[in-house]
Amino acid sequence: MSVTPLPPIHGYLVVSTLLFAIGLVGVFARRNAIAVLLGIELMLNAASLNFVAFWRYRGGGQMEGQVFVVAIITVAAAEAAIALAIILNVYRRFKTVNVDQINLLKG
């Protein structure tokens, strides 16, 4: 099979930009803390997509791009575990996980 032309890198960058913006809306606007976490996951995936796209379009010689994505996935797993433990504690205490009702620190 001949070498197939890749779609231009702009396609990947546009997808990742839009995915990041969608995740940002989720973080800003959702009330439920778990939904905020889902928005963060979307933003992390947008960053990973950028790393892999630039890795590929730089010729794939250096592996830094992929190493970064492995680190991102690791941190995302750790972050999800910690965040869900915190959310469980908050739910036990306040009987809700809506971020606008957990305002104990508000003066």
Partner: protein, 177 residues
């Protein structure tokens, strides 16, 4: 017309852009549904399809190992963890009357503005990066990179995971009465 499409399908020059468009549509549509879904459980399940689409894009870019890790860790681990948390806190099929807080307008404007600025900058830049031939031995070279130059980062990641695991267990444990 049809003959040309068939010809390019046969030579393999059409399926890659076609697969890209399919995966991009899956990613963006399910990403939107993650944010817009009123039922939190549906949001988490749409996240599953969004992450699978991102894995498809990784595969398309020639990063097979990362696509496999994405499916295993994200779709198999993180989404299941999130589903557990939803069921432990929120209950199944529960739909909030109001899913968005009062920052919806400004958040949407800010996100749309950010996307507009970035897309504008992207359209001004003409990336003429050399698209070399398909990279070979990607997985072997990733393993080599993780265990030779980046072994410190690799070990730090494992310590981070251990600390997070212990911390999550300690925090989520029920307090003694």
């Amino acid at each position: 017309m049809i003959g040309a499409i068939w010809e390019s399908l046969h030579s393999g020059s059409l399926w890659q852009p076609l697969a890209f468009v399919c995966f991009a549509a899956i990613v963006l549509a399910s990403g939107l549904l993650v944010v817009l879904s009123r039922n939190l459980l549906h949001s988490a399940l749409w996240l599953l399809s969004c992450l699978a689409g991102v894995a498809g894009l990784f595969f398309l870019l020639g990063a097979e190992m990362l696509a496999a890790i994405q499916i295993l860790v994200y779709c198999g681990g993180i989404v299941v963890l999130i589903l557990f948390a939803i069921m432990l806190t929120h209950g199944l099929g529960h739909t909030d009357v109001r899913v968005a807080n009062q920052q919806l307008l400004w958040g949407s404007i800010g996100a749309a503005g950010l996307a507009g600025v970035v897309l504008h900058l992207l359209s001004q830049e003409s990336w003429t990066m050399g698209v070399a031939a398909e990279p070979v031995d990607v997985t072997a070279r990733l393993a080599d990179a993780l265990l030779n130059p980046y072994v410190l980062a690799f070990e730090v990641a494992s310590v981070v995971l251990l600390v997070a695991m212990v911390g999550a267990i300690v925090m989520a444990r029920a307090e003694p009465e």
